[in-house]
Symmetry: C3
Subunit: 136 residues, 3 copies
């Protein structure tokens, strides 16, 4: 078991690509066949594997989520940290807190169009933590 930490200083709501940093952790671990587990320790930022070629995909995902769980939605009681507080929790629950990606021939076995992203759901940027655990 090999563990590595990644820190991302987000600048507000949006997606931040982690693929290269996770791939580097895999190379450091020197594992030929195995699994790479990615975990974020937050409930208002999450992880996703998403199309990596056209930034409009992630823009459309923002539009979709903003309509599905709108900021300032009057249905929400939990508003302690502002209008984007509860929508951030909803978005986190609908996406992933952890991902596991296979390692094959010493590399992440991602498809051509797959990227690994941290999705910051709060408008205010934050320091986000990701823990990568690699097993062979």
């Amino acid at each position: 078991m090999f563990q590595a930490e990644i820190e991302i200083a987000t600048k507000g709501r949006g997606t931040y690509e982690l693929t290269q940093r996770v791939a580097e952790a895999v190379r450091s671990a020197g594992v030929a066949t195995g699994l790479c587990h990615v975990f974020t320790t937050h409930t208002s930022a999450s992880l996703m594997i998403c199309e990596n070629a056209d930034p409009n995909v992630r823009r459309d995902l923002e539009t979709f989520m903003a309509d599905l769980a709108p900021d300032g939605d009057r249905r929400f009681v939990h508003t302690a940290e502002g209008p984007d507080d509860m929508p951030a929790h909803v978005r986190s629950v609908l996406t992933q807190t952890d991902l596991t990606i296979p390692i094959k021939n010493g590399e992440l076995a991602l498809g051509t169009w797959q990227g690994v992203y941290l999705w910051e759901h709060r408008h205010r940027g934050s320091r986000r933590h990701v823990l990568v655990t690699i097993q062979s």
Copy 2:
């Protein structure tokens, strides 16, 4: 590999915290660095990692899901077990059947505000099963 079973007698729709019971399984396994896999064997109850401080977060998640996949929704054909049958399957598919949490320094490496919950989606309570598998 260490496996432990957790049983939860739910009392109807709602969230049931599992964090302490999963943490105890980790301590029993005596693993310093590893991964803890949590799996539920149902399709009308699911797992989630969610904010653990304000119960209103989970109440708002109930509101959100009740609006997204309403009980008795006429679009649904699968109603064999009543108006909450198909909505329970929808909620399960939108959340998680399995979670993997890193183990660091012998403890679950959860963030401060992260709790592990079983989410019962049926109004009638049930005996729910969770299988914890720990690897080092």
Copy 3:
């Protein structure tokens, strides 16, 4: 670590059961206690664990998703591959790219009503890839 590849020629949008093929990989690996990781290398097809008895459950899930992220939705900018392009990415993000299922007594420890499905989100069929990694 044991890895096996599964290929599925999909015939358009819909769910394709993988349970038996994943179970065969587990038997080939000869693992008594362990974990079975299932990964798909696509961003317009995904994985889910779902009720396996009544096909109407999966039909209702199609209805639900078709209403939630409609084909041809004018909110979406990413339409390069047609009206089902962006909805396919949305559906993938809301479901799973990877699943981990426990192995107990040499078999997948699925519940009685749980099946493993590939969900093709594009109307045009495609050759889809699933990578199974088994650890003991």
